[in-house]
Symmetry: C2
Subunit: 470 residues, 2 copies
C-alpha cells in the first residue's frame, strides 16, 4: 500500500524521535496502542484509533500492540494474526515486516512484554480494558493520563516537549489532513451551491454528509465529531436535523485525520442562500478582523495568551464600532465584556489530537508554573505558552449569542452599562459565527496550512453561490 | 424535532413491549444505556451508541440513563444536564419531558437508582465503565452478556422472544433504514457511473465516501463498518485504499442505522466498468440463483438452516453446471464442497443490531437445545430456528476465492476429486461476489425490504453505467 520510500522516511523519523526522547529521560518506556471498542456486540467495533503517544513513536495504528523504548532503541510487541483472522481479514503483514517498516530494533509476541516491565514508565491509554492491562503488567498503579506521577510524569513532560513542535514527517501528514479538510469544506458549500433553500429540502445533515463523505473518499476519518449547524450559538452542537432556511448562517467545524492519526480543524460560517445580510456581514467582518489580526501577530516568542487578548480586543473594537458595546476597549476586555459573545479561547495546539495532548490535562497547553485563570474571559483558554517554530495552533475567534449567557440575570446586571441591548437585537440573525484556521509557527512568523479555503466574505459568498457549478 | 404524534406512537409501543415482558418474567429489570467511549482524550468521544436492549424498551438513545421495568411499569433514571452543559450543548429536553415522550410512569435522578436494585435482573452492557457500575449498584457479579446466569439468563431469554419478531414501530424504523441504505448503494454506483476507471483515479474509498455520505445526509449512521472493496475474497475487509481498475468487481456491504438504532444490511457486487465479463456474469448469476431460491423458500415454519442448505445446493448446482465442481449436488453439499467458495452462513437476524442480539452469544440465533455444528459448511451459520412472521433476516449468498481456503494443502487434497482446478482458473477475475437483502418473514411468505435496489445483472449494469446521469 505504501512505498518502501515512505516507510524509510517514517523509520528515520521514528528513530530521531526516540533518540531525542532518550536525551530527556533515563528510564525505559512502554506505550500501548489500545484496542477498538465494541459498538453493540464485540464483533461490531468502532473504528480503531490508536493512542496518540503510541502513534508518535510507532508511526502506524497497530491495534493491540505495545512498544518498548529504551535509550534510543525500539522494540515492537505484537501478536501475529491467527489463521482464522487470515481467513476473514486476508493476508496481513507479519510482525517482522511491520517491525521493518517502523525501523524497530527487535520484535516479539505480546507474551514477551512482561520481560520488559521492570522500571518502565508509561502513560495511561483511554480504553479501560488496555488500561487495566497496563496496571497488571507493570504491577503498579498507573494514574489516569491527566494526572501522571513519578516517572510517568517525567515521561509525560518529555513527550510534551517533543510533540509541541512538529518535525517534517508530522508536518507532511498535517498538510495532507489540512488539504482534505479544505476539500471537505468546499464540498459542503457545493452541496448548497445554486440550490434554493426556500423550496428545496436541505438539512444540516445534507451538508455534513457531503463534507464527511469527501473526507472518507480520501481514505481519511474525522478527527472529531463534526459541528454542522444553523445554531452556531450552541458551541458543541452535534445535532444535524434542522432544515436550512433562507436567512440562516451555517457554521461548519469539520476536520480530517490521516490514517496515521494527524488532524486538521477548520471552521467556516456561510449564508445558506449565498448572501450575507447586512447585519451578518457586519459581524462576520468583525470576527474576520480578529482572525486576521491574530495571524498577523503570530511569531516565535509571542505569548499565545496575548494572541487571545488581541482577538478579544479586536472583536470588542468591532462591537463598539457597531454600537453593540460601549466604552473603552481595554476596559471592556479587562471586564470580560468580550466573553459575553466570545466565551471560548482563541484556539489550541493541533497535532495527533485535535486538542493536542489534551489527554495530559493542561501539561501540554500550559507552560510550567502557569495555571488556568478563573476569569470568565480567560478560563477557557487551552494554550498559554510562548510560541515556538514548529508549533501548530488553531486561530478561531467567534461571535455567538448564547441564550444561557445573554439571558443570565447576573450577567445582564453586571454588563448593563456596556451592552446596548436594543442595538444587539438588530443582529438577531447572527446566532453564531466562527472562523478557524490551522496556523504553523515558522521562524519568520506563520504559515496558514488551510489558506486555500478563503475567509473573505465576498469569496465565501462566491464559493457558496457557484459551488455547484465550479 | 419529532412530532408529538411520533412520541405517542413510541410510548404506546414501549408500553406494549414491557407489558409483554411482564408476562414472561416476575422480577424487576434494570437496563443501562451505557456511555460514549473516549477517542484520544475524554472530550473527543466516539458517537454515542446506546445498548440495544435499553433502546428496545426506552426507545431513545439517552446517554448515561437507566430504566427500571417492573410489572409493566417504566421508570426513567437520568440526570438533568448541568448549567455548564447548557452553555456548551444548548437547551436539552428536561428529564420530565423525556419521560413523557417515552411514556414513563416516573422519572428520577440517577442517584435514586440504588433504591431499585433489590432482586433486579440486568444484561451486561459493552462498555466497561458502565459494566462496572452495573456490578457495583447491583452489588453482585454480572456475567458478560454472552453468558448470563440466573435471573439475568431468564431475562435474556424473555427479551430474545420479544425481539425475535418485530412490532409495527420497529418495522417502521427498519423500513427507513432499508430505504436510506438503498439510496446509499445507488450513490455508490452513481459515483462510478459514466466515469472511465482506466483513466480516472478512483479508489474504493471514493465509493465508500459517496455511500456513507448519503447515509449521513439522511441523518443516520452506519450500522457496522462498511466493506467496499475490489478484494471481495477478503470477507471482513475494512481497507479502502485500492484503486478501481478495469476488470474489477466492487463488493459493497454497507448499511444504515436510524437515530433510534434500527439497522439495515445490504450487499451488492458490480463491475467498476459497468460491464460484467462473461465469467463474472456466470458466477454472478449462480449466486443470484441461490439468493432468489432462498427468498422464494422463506415462509413461516421453514427452518432457516434449510434455507442455508438450499443456498449451498443451488450454488453447488451452478458450479457443477459451470464445470468448476463435479459430482452429485447432494453429495457435494454433504461433503461441504460448497464451503470452499461459500464459507459463511446464508445470513442472520437483523434488528437493533446488524447481527441481532449477537451480544447474547447464540441465545437468539439458536433455538433452545440447538448448538453450532462443527461442519465446515455449517459452523458459521448464525441462525438456526424455524422462521416466524415478523422475523427479519438477511439472505446473503456469496462466491469467493479465498486463498487461505483454496491454497490449503489439506483442503486441496480432500477435494481433489471434486474441483476442476483448471476450469476454476478461468474464473480468476471473480475474486468475491455477494448479494445480500433484508427479508421480512410475513404470514404469506416474505417481503424484501430492500427490493428497490435491483439484483439482476442487467439492471446492475444499467445502474452503474447510467448512475451519473439518472
Ligand atoms: Mn478548534
Ligand atoms: Mn449481513
Amino acid at each position: 500500500m505504501e512505498s518502501q520510500q515512505n516507510y524509510d522516511s517514517l523509520a528515520t523519523t521514528l528513530r530521531d524521535r526516540r533518540v531525542r526522547l532518550a536525551q530527556l529521560i533515563d528510564f525505559p518506556v512502554i506505550l500501548w496502542a489500545g484496542k477498538s471498542y465494541p459498538r453493540n456486540f464485540p464483533a461490531n467495533p468502532f473504528p480503531f484509533r490508536a493512542s496518540s503517544h503510541f502513534l508518535y513513536f510507532a508511526g502506524l495504528p497497530l491495534e493491540g500492540a505495545a512498544i518498548y523504548l529504551n535509550d534510543g532503541r525500539l522494540e515492537l510487541f505484537l501478536d501475529e494474526p491467527s489463521p482464522a483472522s487470515t481467513l476473514w481479514h486476508g493476508e496481513m503483514p507479519k510482525r517482522e515486516e511491520i517491525a521493518q517498516q517502523m525501523g524497530a530494533d527487535a520484535a516479539f509476541p505480546l507474551s514477551e512484554l512482561a520481560s520488559r516491565t521492570a522500571d518502565a514508565a508509561t502513560l495511561a491509554v483511554q480504553d479501560i480494558a488496555t488500561y487495566q492491562q497496563q496496571e497488571q503488567l507493570l504491577n503498579r498503579c498507573v494514574n489516569r493520563a491527566n494526572a501522571p506521577e513519578g516517572i510517568d510524569r517525567d515521561l509525560a513532560k518529555a513527550i510534551v516537549s517533543l510533540r509541541l513542535c512538529h518535525d517534517a514527517e508530522a508536518l507532511s501528514e498535517l498538510r495532507k489532513a489540512a488539504a482534505v479538510t479544505v476539500a471537505a469544506h468546499k464540498a459542503g458549500m457545493q452541496a448548497i451551491g445554486g440550490r434554493d433553500v426556500a423550496t428545496e429540502c436541505l438539512y444540516e445533515a445534507t451538508i455534513r454528509g457531503a463534507m464527511e463523505g469527501m473526507i472518507l473518499a480520501h481514505n481519511m476519518s474525522c478527527a472529531y465529531g463534526s459541528i454542522v449547524t444553523v445554531h452556531g450559538e450552541v458551541l458543541h452542537n452535534e445535532q444535524y436535523h434542522h432544515p436550512l432556511q433562507p436567512g440562516d448562517l451555517l457554521l461548519a467545524d469539520v476536520g480530517a485525520e490521516t490514517e496515521r492519526g494527524w488532524a486538521a480543524d477548520v471552521t467556516r460560517t456561510f449564508p445558506v442562500t449565498g448572501r450575507f445580510s447586512a447585519t451578518q456581514r457586519d459581524i462576520y467582518e468583525t470576527v474576520l478582523a480578529a482572525h486576521n489580526a491574530c495571524i498577523e501577530k503570530i511569531h516565535p516568542g509571542v505569548e499565545y495568551r496575548d494572541i487571545h487578548l488581541l482577538a478579544a480586543a479586536t472583536l470588542t473594537q468591532g462591537l463598539v464600532d457597531l454600537g453593540i458595546l460601549r466604552g473603552q476597549v481595554s476596559d471592556l476586555v479587562e471586564r470580560d465584556a468580550h466573553a459575553l459573545f466570545f466565551p471560548h479561547g482563541i484556539g489550541h495546539l493541533l497535532g495527533l489530537d485535535v486538542h493536542d495532548m489534551e489527554d495530559l490535562g493542561d501539561l501540554a497547553g500550559y507552560a510550567e508554573g502557569r495555571v488556568r485563570s478563573d476569569r470568565f474571559g480567560l478560563g477557557f483558554l487551552r494554550l498559554d505558552r510562548p510560541l515556538q517554530p514548529g508549533m501548530l495552533v488553531t486561530i478561531e475567534p467567534g461571535f455567538y449569542q448564547v441564550p444561557a449567557i445573554l439571558n443570565d440575570p447576573e450577567r445582564r446586571a453586571k454588563y448593563q452599562d456596556v451592552v446596548n441591548w436594543n442595538r444587539l437585537a438588530e443582529f438577531a440573525d447572527v446566532r453564531g459565527i466562527r472562523i478557524e484556521n490551522d496556523v504553523l509557527v515558522t521562524p519568520e512568523g506563520s504559515e496558514v496550512l488551510t489558506a486555500t479555503l478563503p475567509t473573505e466574505a465576498d469569496a465565501i459568498e462566491e464559493l457558496v453561490l457557484l459551488g455547484g457549478r465550479n
